[in-house]
């Protein structure tokens, strides 16, 4: 790093920390001087206390597990469905074209809107949350899987044809590794969407989960706890991202080339 770059990095860090300090100071001032009602903006210390009781004290332990479980199952279901359909449709051109209008409609459709219906059908348990979660996680992975199988340098297809590769060899040696480079970057988007789906489902109607905590505490007027859950969710999103990045690094270590075109 040159001195200029080092100065720049230091200044960027100052901006990051400074923003937090200013925001918290404003927050403390507004809440402390009762400029805003405590029901809307509880003082920072109340939020810290709620966070400590709920997260570190283990009061929401069950809810965290439920939300995580819904997210992970929804993500896994969406991922596997997307990979299988993406790979199949890459080869079945007629079916892909025939079903395209429906997939497009489903893709552009605000899937969260069917949450109440799903709860009515499937009850207050995990099932409707997993379904929404999977629906949301499905599309980014599906689109990238399809692209990964279809967007291949035609010269590489020629190369394999010139070696008289069978379709199976073409799939294993060219299309699959090519697809991996497309799919991996879609995973963190899909995981964050899976979390969104789980929360949306819980907000609609649930007996457990962080979305349920938000609804309950809002009714009770315990805004500090709601803020604490939101902070926890922000953290969860970051952890999801980190998990995907760790997966990419693992792939890179295991097969440096496979992740060559990934980021």
């Amino acid at each position: 790093m040159t001195p200029t770059e080092r100065r720049q990095a230091r200044n960027a860090r100052l901006v990051t920390i400074g923003t937090a300090v200013v925001l918290i100071a404003l927050w403390q001032t507004a809440a402390g001087l009762h400029l805003v009602s405590g029901l809307i903006l509880p003082p920072p210390m109340d939020v810290v206390r709620a966070f400590r009781d709920g997260v570190i004290g283990g009061m929401w332990f069950e809810d965290i597990l439920v939300t995580l479980e819904e997210t992970v199952i929804g993500f896994a279901v969406g991922l596997v469905t997307a990979l299988v359909l993406g790979a199949l449709f890459a080869y079945a051109e007629t079916v892909r074209r025939g079903l395209y209008p429906y997939l497009l409609a489903l893709q552009t459709f605000p899937k969260i809107a069917i949450a109440p219906l799903l709860v009515a059908w499937l009850g207050y348990g995990m099932a409707p949350k997993v379904v929404i979660s999977a629906l949301l996680a499905f599309f980014p992975v599906y689109a990238n899987t399809l692209a990964g199988f279809l967007e291949i340098d035609p010269a590489m297809v020629d190369l394999l044809h010139s070696m008289r590769a069978t379709r199976w060899q073409e799939l294993c040696k060219l299309r699959l590794p090519n697809a991996v480079a497309f799919i991996v970057p879609s995973l963190d988007v899909a995981l964050v969407l899976a979390l969104l789906g789980a929360i949306a489902g819980e907000l609609t109607g649930a007996t457990a989960g962080l979305g349920n905590v938000i609804t309950q505490r809002t009714f009770l007027g315990d805004t500090a706890a709601v803020y604490a859950v939101l902070i926890l969710l922000a953290g969860t999103g970051l952890v999801c991202r980190a998990a995907i990045n760790a997966t990419i690094s693992a792939i890179r270590r295991f097969r440096p080339g496979l992740a060559a075109s990934v980021r």
Partner: protein, 257 residues
Amino acid sequence: MVRPITITAVERSFAVEGEAPVRALAPVHLTVAGGEFLSLVGPSGCGKTTLLRIIAGLLPATAGEVRIGDDVVRAPDPRVGIVFQKPTLLPWRSVMENCLLPVEIMRPFSPAEGRERAEALLHLTGLWDFRDRLPRELSGGMQQRAAIARALVPDPEILLMDEPFSALDEFTRERLNEELLRLCAERPKTVIFVTHNIGEAVFLSDRIGVMAPRPGRLGAVIDLATLPRQRDAGLRKHPAYFDKMAETRAAFDELLA
């Protein structure tokens, strides 16, 4: 035994919606002797790549036929190696793994033998120290070297090359031209080399097929048998080399007139 390639009345048209088909290649007649190095030279759109793809079995001819020995080409022949304009290395495979791809797919010999050949060719192309690198870590010239090594690993009887050095700077190109001749001398083989560079064609070839566009067609075939047999950097300063360049240019002028 290296078989001759016989091209008889090969032509190619491309369908265009709502219009008359575009004629990419007017009937071509050409025989390439076994072990010969033939270049096809011409400007863009003269059908040289189309002709090469037909010979490779990657593109069917609209009419006419290509024979390798007595066999009519209908699909890619495993005894034919191809080097494309771009290196076309699989980005997730190391240089060595890229060179082993034809062995894995075609199984021309046992994996151990294939590995031995790949190692020998990586030594010959000066890529040995880079065998575990990924393609993107290599310069353009080195990538194209790796592509040539890969094409040579299965010991093809025929090597088809489609402007393999067109993306390289002049100095790298000249060095790779010399290297290519050295590599081709390793085992007897027929080479058909497409280029738009006259100097390169004269330096490398036994004969040059001069091609012109609209429609793509083969004009004169220039024989370079009178050039000194020793094809090294010295040839580029030899008067006979300039004579042949001039003769090739004259053939173009006549064809394009």
